[in-house]
Chain length 250, copies 2
């Protein structure tokens, strides 16, 4: 009777200490597991598996998790039940029953991230938790000229946070775009790839903004791939601007 | 050398216990006074006067305050100095030096409020603090037909929270509009008037939504003006959707 549920969720990361369960911290995984286990009468604890972690303050529009639920329930009832139990900063947007071979983390083909940069002179109080902030003038054409260097398979050793324990830093980026949202005075980046290293998107955004500001040559990514030196990429754009937009499966 | 400053501010009301100073609470007035007094070497405490209170959770796009500052400073320097001292959920958008006859509260001719209602089925986690939420279908044409009853001079006794100590409940509304923001799936109300009673906008919005849903007759405002009975207006729309948009002076 146990069935595997694939659940797509959106969350405001502001008040979460990231996705993954940590002692004494409010995390997305812990509030999900509390809701799921509240619905089950079984003694066995139901674990929720995410497609990957997100850091404290990072948001999701389409994070994917799975878990095995030991009672009869339709996908739609699961969506409604979870949304009645979850806190308001985390919502289920889609619920599906999937084969046991599905695994949120191990069967993914990639992810898409979005990054919002506010260009206001002072930080907009309504955006402080939902955008990065860069007040300097940015030539978006320079960033557009740099993005073809980002796409493809590269060694991203210069773009991985020092805390990462991953040895292999080669990743493939399928798609990288930038656009200006004039009405919001924002720059919006999107990156889709087969996987991302710890802080990779936030470091890439910081480098791209410096390219747009004219502080780095347009093709500085090619140099950074060569030097494999995190310190030369310097800045990390803040967590508040980052959104996990989509997780890809077959 | 003392000059009066008129300061227009925007704030995210989520983490404030309203505008007005209260013991042991974080309020807009208290963070403003802390910033202003940090800039002054005088022993005398500088008090900041607002155009009026906003409740806990209510936002401002254009709240106005004034204070007397005993040191030489340009309006522009005041704006920059305050923004470097204020927390990120409160920002100065405009700074002016005004005559001593200006008073943020006593010389105002009226105010404009905006109210955002999200119509999503479940609460959008990114809007939970920034909109009211009403999932039921609303016929906006019915609300448009009711709005002419709102405009004008009326006794709003049915639309004042029971906690109010104001005796005179007659107010004049200059302008009342509603529109649907399709891209955001929101209904946006705006009300301009010579003054508003405690919770008046939030109670009016709740009644207008019930008119739009077909739970009240279109001209129920006319009946509510007559009965002068708060209990018949029933609901109060949540603070999270309300924005003080503008304060009017000569």
């Amino acid at each position: 009777m146990t069935k595997r549920f694939k659940i797509t969720i959106a969350y405001d990361g502001t008040n979460f200490a990231g996705f993954q369960t940590q002692p004494k911290q409010r995390t997305v995984q812990s509030v999900l597991e509390r809701a799921v286990n509240k619905m089950s009468k079984e003694d066995e604890y139901i674990t929720v598996f995410g497609s990957g972690r997100t850091d404290a303050g990072v948001h999701a529009l389409g994070q994917v998790v799975h878990f095995d639920f030991p009672h009869e329930m339709t996908a739609e009832n699961m969506l409604n039940a979870l949304n009645s139990l979850l806190p308001l900063d985390c919502v289920v947007v889609k619920s599906e029953i999937v084969p046991d071979t599905f695994h949120a983390r191990y069967t993914t083909h990639g992810k898409r991230y979005l990054y919002r940069v506010s260009q206001s002179h002072f930080v907009d109080p309504f955006k402080r938790n939902y955008t990065g902030h860069y007040k300097y003038p940015v030539d978006i054409e320079k960033i557009k000229a740099a993005l073809p260097d980002v796409v493809g398979t590269h060694d991203f050793s210069s773009f991985v946070a020092s805390g990462s324990q991953t040895k292999n830093h080669v990743r493939t980026i399928y798609d990288a775009t930038v656009r200006r949202d004039e009405s919001q005075n924002e720059i919006i980046f999107e990156f889709a790839g087969n996987g991302f290293l710890y802080n990779q998107v936030r470091i890439m955004v910081a480098v791209l903004l410096e390219i747009g500001r004219g502080k780095r040559p347009i093709h500085d990514f090619l140099r950074l791939y060569e030097v494999k030196d995190r310190s030369q990429a310097r800045e990390t754009a803040p967590a508040s601007g980052l959104y996990l937009k989509e997780v890809y499966y077959d």
